[in-house]
């Protein structure tokens, strides 16, 4: 049987406000335990929540970025459950009236096709604290610094049908929130966490199969691998005529598998109801339009501009708009050297290649955009050739010079374009290699093209890499063909 996977994601994005969603305590990461947990976060009697205007603005901007409806009225509700890292006994969340309604996100797949994933809604809620299960004489330690940190939970429709699509989706969400500057998107620190719903159905069937929910997956790669494992597991069960149990599973990256969390004795009963401590949130047209005016150029718009105005391929445009710092880096380089294709090649090849090799991201690059742009400008105006440019780039990477110009000067890498100088080098190489000249003359025409490479190499060597290769090539072809 052909099975079709159906995948939906709930992505929790930590909003990068300074203070918490309902209190004036700091949200900074890494503070000493409970030093950022105030009376409201601790649920001390008599305290009341007051909503953070910036959390609302960030949620609205996300909604506008995905073309969602922004209802003028939204309501906070209490989701009731008991856990020690949730001191109020309920999480303040939204259900019936979320701040962001239906929207959509475009994802780009490996073959360059663009697919639209519908967003069911996005709602604001508070994060819980952290439980530390190390042994405190048989007790559990609770750190409430994270309690009350604002989250935006983005719920997709089950529109994805492969691990690749799910991974492209979460990358797209990551790009949107980091472009908007509403989250640092740091998955390692938990700023983005993801619950994945996976089910299978016979291909062509409308009705959805029973789903499993994989909780708290915290990296792009794990999302992909957890889904791949889950598809495999479910199809094996179904092939053997078994039934999928609706349950919550956890992905273990070390074993690369999902495992059932202990089945709860009873189904969750969250008893949602409107929070009497918080009034309905009203957003008028003027407010929403003001937030719209604050939107930066979004990844999809940038991608389109890179293709249409800069002439990049959709693949290049997709890679280069993957994150806002990368896109800004590329644009700075492109402006300095005036050649988008050249800038795209160097940023994707040499720069990203080395960053990857050294385990750095774009914000940690040793070669800044001004330096790379300056280097490519010299390549562009023929001051240096491609080989010298690689050398200069390596020097910049190792901080052996401040600017490309300085390195070109001290290393004597200026390209020789003087016809006379190149001509005498060509004559010398032809005179020094009579055997190869004879072979060239006797070769068929289609082979000569390749054989010229030997002579070009010799001339480049003789010029210590400073000759202009196309010029050398043209001159050698002319001289050798004259000998035929």
């Amino acid at each position: 049987m052909q099975w079709e996977p159906v995948i939906g994601l709930e992505v929790h994005v930590q909003l990068s406000t300074c203070s918490k969603i309902f209190s004036g305590a700091s949200t900074a990461f890494g503070a000493e335990a409970n030093t950022q947990a105030c009376g409201i976060d601790l649920a001390l009697p008599g305290t009341l929540p007051v909503l953070n205007e910036n959390a609302v603005a960030m949620a609205v901007r996300f909604g506008l970025a995905i073309n969602a409806e922004i209802p003028e009225y939204s309501v906070f509700e209490r989701k009731n459950y008991f856990y020690p890292d949730l001191p109020k006994g309920y999480q303040t969340s939204q259900m019936a009236h979320p701040v962001v309604g239906r929207g959509e996100v475009d994802i780009t797949l490996g073959d360059g096709t663009i697919k639209t994933v519908r967003i069911h809604h996005a709602h604001m809620e508070e994060d819980a604290g952290k439980s530390l299960h190390e042994d405190y004489s048989g007790m559990t330690g609770i750190d409430l610094n994270r309690a009350g940190t604002p989250l935006l939970e983005i719920v997709s429709e089950p529109d994805m049908h492969s691990a690749e699509e799910a991974s492209a989706y979460i990358r797209a969400i990551h790009a949107i929130v980091t472009y908007l500057g509403i989250s640092d998107g740091n998955m390692a620190e938990g700023s983005m966490r993801c619950d994945v719903n996976v089910s299978l159905r016979p291909k062509g069937q409308e009705k959805l199969g029973t789903r499993a929910e994989i909780k708290n997956v915290n990296s792009f790669r794990f999302v992909e691998r957890a889904i791949a494992f889950e598809i495999e597991r479910q199809s094996e069960i179904l092939e053997e005529g078994g039934v999928i149990v609706q349950e919550t599973r956890l992905y273990n990256p070390d074993l690369d598998e999902t495992r059932s969390m202990r089945t709860k004795e009873e189904a969750n009963d969250y008893r949602y109801f409107p929070c009497p401590d918080l009034l309905p949130l009203m957003l008028d047209e003027a407010y929403i339009e003001h937030q719209r005016s604050l939107l930066p150029e979004l990844p999809s718009e940038k991608r389109q501009r890179f293709v249409e105005s800069l002439g990049l391929s959709t693949y290049d445009a997709d890679v280069l708009t993957g994150s806002r710092p990368l896109a800004e880096y590329f644009e700075a380089v492109q402006k300095l050297c005036g050649d988008a294709k050249l800038a795209a090649n160097w940023v994707q090849g040499d720069l990203l290649g080395r960053l990857n090799r050294d385990g750095l991201d774009i914000t940690q690059t040793p070669v800044n955009a001004e330096q790379l742009g300056g280097l490519l400008a010299r390549l562009q105006d023929d001051t240096i050739n491609g080989k010298a440019a690689k050398q200069v780039f390596a020097d910049l990477w190792e901080c052996r010079g401040e600017t490309a110009d300085e390195i070109i000067e001290t290393r004597g890498l200026k390209q020789v374009t003087d016809t006379g100088a190149i001509e005498s080098l060509c004559d010398q190489v032809i005179a020094d290699n009579p055997v190869q000249v004879t072979q060239y003359r006797e070769a068929s025409e289609d082979k000569r093209g390749k054989m010229i490479g030997f002579f070009v190499g010799q001339v480049m060597k003789a010029s210590r890499g400073t000759a202009n290769p196309p010029q050398v090539n043209a001159m050698l072809t002319e001289k050798l063909d004259a000998l035929l």
Binding site: C18, R262, D269
Partner: protein, 95 residues
């Protein structure tokens, strides 16, 4: 809506309240009377009236995104039954 013994025990369990069988019996009676009163509301014609999420005709005020709280951990932890390394200690929770 009729309320039964089992409903009371379940509600008590969800709220983590210790309710004895005898107490539950009394609550069946009390809660049923409250629900009967609420049921009377259903007799009112609410056609075309949007559900109310708050009794006050007011909207949510917003506060500026500023850190105004200082670290008062020591004060807060004085009333906690058990603490260690700055953490609040609770009976062991097994995942």
């Amino acid at each position: 809506m009729a309320i039964e013994h089992a409903n009371v025990l379940r509600a008590a369990h969800l709220a983590r309240l210790g309710v004895s069988d005898a107490q539950a019996e009394r609550y069946v009676d009390d809660l049923s009377r409250i629900l009967e009163m609420v049921d009377r509301l259903a007799e009112i014609d609410t056609e075309g009236v949007a559900p109310l999420s708050h009794p006050l005709d007011a909207t949510q005020p917003l506060r500026a995104d500023e850190v105004i709280e200082t670290d008062r951990r020591d004060t807060f932890q004085k009333v906690a039954p058990a603490t260690a390394d700055g953490l609040y200690l609770v009976p062991r929770v097994v995942e």
